[in-house]
Symmetry: C2
Subunit: 323 residues, 2 copies
């Protein structure tokens, strides 16, 4: 069942230029959830089943994205007109080599990035996924501009990219932990906007998602990692240090959202204390973003009738359809 | 339900050094399938459900592989002893940085490589997959040794790699289409064996799978691609040219299997005319290969009690468990 009233892109979108008050967004809320499910007894099961359904559609869209890029690269006719329609990413003139979709996932520790990738991206064909995780920069990466490693990790045309953390760490942890001087991180907001504008112009449909969890929920999840031996490996003692600076991180997020939510590269805040809602919402955000691309299967770049004759006339293919 | 009698690794494995007669392996056969399912009315549905179940176990194994590599990289205790046990890849001394699993998929056109990745690898967490497809080499790749691009595409420790085509193309298409002189491709069998021996010694558990389809089935599938407009993009007129050299390709496969099936890097031939059997068999091959690694979750690399105290004692975490 689709979200009620507005689209999820409308409901969860950060308004460009408007201050963001994260404290006013309840991490346990469920915007867009059909009324019957808000208090439904089986809403978890319902949401999981919906994610499966939407996931199948995501897989179909992903295949068309891939097919379209392949046809363009072969020089054949493409299914999507790069410059005709007037809607969002679908209208970018720069999609000559084919569109790409790129989801940027950001969250506090335990915010559910890995789980979202598993559940939502996992519904698509792994052959067409381009997932990259960004940890602390290596020595080599530190010798370059902060966007250097990001550019190298972009999905090729036809692929669905997922950034598990991203260049936004360079205005989040870099700011809160003073890893670089203030003038350096201050300049990055504009640099990020210019970079993302460039990507959008090049046919990249950006979906930037902040998974918004509460301080209490983070505590619960950290405790679980300390309690279940199968989860110890996910825990890092430095997580507690970052937790102690919760308010600083929230402020850094709010600033990043305010300054880098643009029409070309929108930010969405997804309430994420409830995992089933989180997955449901992200799946819909992706599906709605695919819709803006107006994808279809490309027409054949060869003479179909002639090829059928070649196949059916070729030696040994009398077996075809005759077994 | 598990395969009957022997393991799938035993049933489908090519015996090192023994000649391979592909014509004697029926692509519609279903080795290892429980008797009740061989002629069962709902065997397709049964097999799909089994792939889901085995897939869940693959996901668990994949997580342990990932966790173990992470613990080793952090310098903490690992769950798997790199040199103690005497079984297959689990015993390699070189797994100091953690094990890797690498499935190499080869098949004739329409053999089902993409479908296998989608259905079997798709059961795992895409975050821990490292999938690489190899097309015709680029100009840059041609300036290097044939293994250059392969080495660059290897999965890092902790990841499950899938090669969609591989270095075997360099003794298949390169041989049949005479892309290089005979002495060059002739030397490659030994070079491949040395390379794969090196990988195995470095902790890579190799699973090399040939998806074995019949000439008739390929004809059916090509016809489908020419009939269904949603599949035109998968068709390439050169597919018919390769089809005309079917026997040459089969001979090249047989030679590659005979010369490169080793204990360190086994080859498996999976009858693949029936997609549901193919997926079921490959899922089991992967699960059994994981079993040889004897994976477990690594113990904590920190003082669990101390961390719990830090978490529960830290400011604001009175909320934990108290909401």
């Amino acid at each position: 069942m689709d979200p009620v009233g507005a689209t999820m892109r409308e409901l969860l979108r950060v308004t460009p230029g408007r201050p963001v008050d994260l404290a006013s967004i309840d991490p346990r809320s469920t915007p867009g959830l059909p009324a019957a499910e808000v208090t439904g007894e089986h809403r978890k099961e319902w949401a999981r089943a919906q994610v499966e359904l939407v996931g199948a559609e995501l897989g179909r869209q992903q295949e068309m994205l891939f097919a379209d890029a392949k046809a363009r690269q072969a020089g054949g006719p493409a299914a999507v007109d790069g410059g005709a329609s007037g809607t969002a990413a679908g209208s970018r003139a720069g999609a000559g080599a084919g569109h790409r979709l790129l989801m940027v996932l950001q969250a506090m520790d335990c915010g559910g990035k890995d789980g979202t990738v598993k559940r939502v991206a996992g519904a698509m064909n792994p052959l067409g996924l381009h997932i990259r995780s960004f940890g602390p920069p290596t020595d080599e990466e530190l010798r370059h501009d902060f966007l250097w490693r990001i550019r190298r990790a972009l999905p090729p045309p036809g692929y669905v990219g997922v950034f598990n953390r991203s260049h936004y760490e360079d205005v989040l942890v870099a700011r809160v932990e003073s890893l670089v001087p203030q003038p350096v991180w201050q300049a990055r907001y504009d640099e990020i906007n210019a970079f993302e504008r460039e990507l959008a112009d090049d046919g990249v449909a950006l979906v930037k998602v902040m998974l918004h969890i509460s301080h209490a929920e983070q505590g619960e999840r950290l405790l679980e990692r300390l309690t279940d031996p199968r989860k110890h490996w996910k825990y890092n003692p430095s997580d507690i240090d970052a937790r102690a600076r919760w308010d600083d991180y929230q402020a850094a997020y709010a600033e990043a959202l305010r300054r880098c939510a643009t029409d070309a590269a929108p930010w969405y805040v997804v309430p994420a204390d409830r995992k089933w809602y989180r997955d449901w919402a992200v799946a819909h955000l992706l599906r709605e973003t695919f819709d803006t691309l107006h994808l279809g299967y490309p027409p054949a770049g060869f003479d179909v009738r002639h090829e059928r004759e070649r196949l059916l006339g070729s030696e040994g293919t009398t077996k075809v359809n005759g077994r």
